[in-house]
């Protein structure tokens, strides 16, 4: 043990002499990170990315990014003698002739799915806890960029084997590019090196997939992490946690062990999944040919919403003289995603403008304490979910024996109706939870212990809220909405910014208007004194009339008792 430490010390000394690492290392190793399970979501994304780099490198050793047609002759007998692209043949080779090749392919694919899932859930965590607020808006923008690129990277990756399923995806991509007004036709010819499918696209996609995008990923992930380091991680409210401190464990040793260990857990779980669960069995799909498709074709999950948008969009096309615009393809595949990702990236700035909140926030919001934001988030998720359902309209139709037409027509309407309903319901739930929080603060929590007074009255003993919960509830930030001004001064001179100011104030009212304010400190102390008095009185009632004593502390987990029974915590 000590020999290891000595050797390490010498190496560190060598490096410090040459690079002066001691000072930065001191700060780094001591750096405190707050602990919460939801902070692991971003870690899963990071570790999945590392797994993707490792396994992807293996795959490049055998994969041939070529669309040259070859006749397959390998271990997978059903496809022997079939004409296919070299890309598909080499993927079969990886799956059936390279020992461990299938494992690497499956780990790569599973890790890609985990990458996208963890990014998405991480994004939701950051959104609903308000972790994107000042000073972290720029990191949110980087995160949005990473999500967008991850979707593209995933699509590029699963298109490379050139199997029937992914080739159909590329065919659809061609249709999408063609739908772009004015430049679409030329863009398609340049991307594909001529007509579809040509022989250039897979090699080009390969370069994008293994070089261009991973390079951008490394840069953006590096910046993402550096910002987290520089700004220190946000933390959830709790005892002793304020906006100006960070409570947790130091990098060395606890976080080093936990985070480092977690990388191996993620890698291990991905490998075990790949051992047991087949993913993307390209041999079952067969090689790509433009004149075949299988029914029930579904893209990977993260492309499903786009596919859904394409499915339910009405068949609008406009002809203007010699030119045509395919709204039916262009809007759902280019315009809608463009708007969605722009809004997503701009969200912190929009919210900051509406609320006028310019303070730094290091303590996370509880979703209920930002009801409008939480409701907007749920509305967005519902919208996404509706698109996702639309992407499976054929599966729903065949599974439940419904009319595909009826499902599609309904979804065209429901996508506008359901999200606003989700907004209203979520907001009401948040406000109710706020009221509940105030109740808990003022009246404590039900202990489950019922007392009967000599007069025959039944009283349930309330106990004060545990300190931990109090700290969490008291972290709420009550903000008054901005005042709505007329926009004219006493001389009737108009303020040039009056329109935007009034809009902003109205939005601020919409944002904060329904807030249920926390009780004031005086109210809280009065309530606590009252509760203490009540409790004392109940105690003395029991003492006086029945000569009983109560166990020191009523406990939360005691069994609830019926009104007619005696309290089990009262001893004779």
């Amino acid at each position: 043990m000590s020999a290891v430490v000595d050797a390490g010390g010498k190496a560190a000394g060598y490096l410090d002499d040459r690079l002066g690492i001691a000072k930065p290392a001191k700060g780094l190793l001591n750096k405190v990170f707050p602990d919460h399970w939801s902070f692991m979501l971003g870690e899963i994304a990071l570790y999945s990315f590392i797994v993707l780099l490792l396994t992807g490198t293996y795959l490049t050793l055998w994969y041939k990014p070529s669309m040259t047609e070859v006749i397959y002759n390998g271990s997978y007998i059903p496809l022997n003698g079939v004409s296919m692209s070299e890309a598909f043949a080499s993927t079969l080779n990886i799956s059936f002739d390279v020992r461990g090749g299938l494992l690497m392919r499956q780990i790569h694919h599973w890790a890609a799915l985990f990458f996208l899932v963890s990014i998405t859930v991480h994004l939701m965590r950051v959104f609903f806890t308000g972790a994107f607020r000042k000073p972290r808006e720029l990191n949110w923008v980087i995160g949005t960029g990473l999500l967008t690129l991850a979707i593209l990277e995933g699509f590029a990756g699963y298109s490379l084997p050139d199997d029937l399923l992914s080739g159909t995806g590329l065919r659809i991509a061609q249709g999408i590019v063609l739908s772009i007004p004015i430049i679409g036709t030329w863009a398609q010819f340049l991307l594909f090196g001529g007509q579809f499918p040509g022989t250039d696209f897979i090699p080009r996609l390969f370069t994008v997939h293994v070089l261009l995008l991973p390079g951008i990923f490394l840069a953006l992930i590096g910046a993402h992490l550096l910002m987290v380091f520089a700004q220190k991680h946000t933390q959830y409210p709790g005892p002793g946690r304020t906006n100006n401190n960070v409570v947790g464990f130091p990098l060395l040793p606890v976080y080093m062990a936990k985070a480092g260990g977690f990388f191996f857990i993620v890698f291990g779980v991905t490998a075990l999944m790949s051992a047991f669960v087949t993913i993307n069995p390209i041999w079952a799909f067969g090689p790509y040919t433009p004149d075949q498709v299988s029914a029930g074709s579904q893209p990977d999950w993260y492309m499903g919403w786009l596919d859904g948008a394409v499915r339910i969009f009405p068949n609008w096309e406009t002809n203007i003289g010699a030119y045509s615009i395919s709204w039916n393809v262009f809007i759902p595949t280019v315009v809608v995603p463009g708007i969605i990702f722009t809004l997503l990236g701009a969200y912190p700035f929009i919210e900051r403008w509406v609320t006028g909140d310019n303070a730094e926030h290091n303590l996370l919001d509880r979703p209920r304490n930002a009801p409008t934001r939480t409701a907007l988030g749920v509305m967005a998720i519902t919208f996404y979910g509706m698109l996702w359902i639309s992407g499976g309209n054929d599966i729903i139709a065949t599974t439940f024996d419904l009319s595909i037409n009826a499902i599609t027509y309904s979804l065209r309407v429901l996508i506008f109706i359901v999200p606003p309903i989700a907004f209203v319901i979520t907001k009401r739930i948040c406000l109710s939870l706020q009221r509940r929080d105030n109740d808990k603060l003022l009246h404590g929590i039900e202990s489950g212990n019922i007392l009967r007074t000599p007069e025959g009255e039944f009283i349930e003993i309330h106990t004060p809220l545990p300190a931990k919960q109090q700290a969490v509830i008291l972290s709420k930030h009550d903000v008054a909405p901005l005042a709505i001004e007329t926009g004219y001064d006493e001389n009737g001179v108009a303020d040039p910014k009056r329109r935007s100011d009034r809009l902003r104030a109205k939005l601020s009212h919409w944002w904060y208007g329904d807030n249920i304010a926390l009780p004031s400190r005086a109210e809280l102390e009065a309530a606590q004194a009252h509760a203490a008095h009540d409790y004392h009185e109940q105690e003395s009632v029991v003492d006086d009339y029945r000569n009983l004593e109560i166990t020191s502390e009523p406990v939360l987990h005691s069994a609830a008792v019926g009104g007619h029974e005696e309290n089990p915590h009262i001893k004779h």
């Binding site: 271990s75 659809i172 005892p239 401190n245 062990a257 047991f276 004149d291 002809n319 730094e360 054929d394």
Partner: protein, 361 residues
């Protein structure tokens, strides 16, 4: 706003620390809870046990890594086994994944177990500072920048500034221009839109069955039947071009219905209809985004695209009856040649596949 005073790095659980802290909203909240000791903190036996558990996990990791090598060498790559629930799978993949996965997993599990049971679990507090630099630093940085900018003369030497901006604006242009040859266009090549509008179907080209390349006689196609067809010269063209481009546009299908069921067609006259005795040929490439279509319902004569469910009525000029497609499926005019085989009369008159800007109406 005041803040809790804490040293750069100290335990939250100081006995005489404050019992209330100030939150950003100005409220007071309870101070940290007292730290609770774990079994391993007070019981040396428990600590020893945890130590053994961690070491055992690491030993298991080593064992699994070695077993991976055994599985790699010993298991035949073609062996397939059937497992309950999971189904048939490659034994090699199963064992390699299992041993590798467990070996990696156990390293992680050991490290985390170590951290949770044996490393200190006392939470530590560090203070934060606003991200913004001090006013003085800001002012100094601005000053350095301004001095530098002045020294460079960027503001005063207008001609340098303007020519530099011009040069910088133009320098990406060569990098963009060079992308023009992403499509190396043959000297006599038609325009992209012209290429999208033509297929290799032409007068007299035989319709052959996709897969067998067998020419088709009208008697081969029963009423209600569907045949996937390609032009007889497709294989030849494909070989010459070395790609699937011709196939991606020329793939078609043949269906037969009773002539009285045909309500309308996309062209032809009563004397020379585009069908042949109720045999109709259509493009197979969806006009929406190009999926090949082959789900045909003979009772309604509807053709359904499996990708986005666009539905076309083949008895009524293949017009769109449902879904996101905007244009009908192009019809191929057919007849029979002197030997009685089905042939095309000319190329499609409407373009095949997805819509594009220059398609015209």
């Amino acid at each position: 706003m005041s803040e809790i005073v804490s040293s750069e790095s100290s335990s939250v659980y100081d006995a005489d620390g404050p019992n209330e802290v100030v939150l950003p909203n100005g409220r007071f909240a309870p101070a940290p809870l007292p730290h609770e000791l774990r079994r391993a903190d007070i019981d040396p036996k428990a600590a020893k046990r945890a130590e053994r558990q961690v070491a055992n996990l690491f030993i298991l990791a080593m064992l699994m890594a070695l077993l991976f090598i055994v599985a790699y060498v010993a298991v035949d790559k073609d062996t397939v086994i059937a497992l309950p629930v999971i189904g048939t799978m490659s034994l090699s993949n199963l064992l390699l994944g299992l041993t590798f996965g467990l070996s990696v997993f156990c390293i992680g599990a050991g490290a985390i177990h170590w951290a949770k049971k044996l490393m200190p679990d006392v939470e530590v507090v560090q203070s934060r500072h606003d991200m913004a630099s001090s006013e003085q630093d800001r002012a100094e940085a601005v000053e350095i920048f301004q001095v530098g900018a002045d020294e460079s003369g960027f503001g005063s030497r207008t001609i340098i500034r303007r020519t530099l901006l011009g040069a910088l604006a133009l320098f990406p242009i060569p990098l963009i221009v060079i992308l023009r040859d992403l499509w190396v266009t043959p000297p006599d090549s038609p325009s992209p839109s012209a290429l999208l509008k033509e297929t290799i179907w032409a007068d007299g080209v035989r319709l052959v069955v996709d897969g067998t390349n067998r020419p088709i006689k009208p008697s081969d196609v029963p009423v209600g039947g569907l045949v996937n067809i390609i032009p007889a010269n497709l294989e030849e063209v494909q070989k010459a071009e070395g790609n699937l481009n011709a196939r991606a546009k020329a793939s078609s299908l043949l269906i037969r219905m009773r002539p009285e069921e045909i309500r309308s067609q996309q062209g032809g006259t009563t004397e020379e209809p585009w069908d042949y005795q109720g045999i109709l040929a259509f493009s197979k490439i969806c006009t929406h985004v190009g999926c090949p279509i082959s789900l045909y319902q003979q009772r309604t004569h509807h053709l359904l695209c499996p990708c986005h469910q666009s539905t076309f009525d083949l008895a009524d000029s293949a017009k769109v009856v449902f879904g996101p497609a905007a244009r009908r499926m192009p019809q191929l005019a057919i007849t029979v040649d002197s030997e009685g085989y089905l042939v095309a009369r000319h190329d499609f008159t409407e373009h095949v596949g997805p819509s594009f800007w220059e398609q015209g109406s």
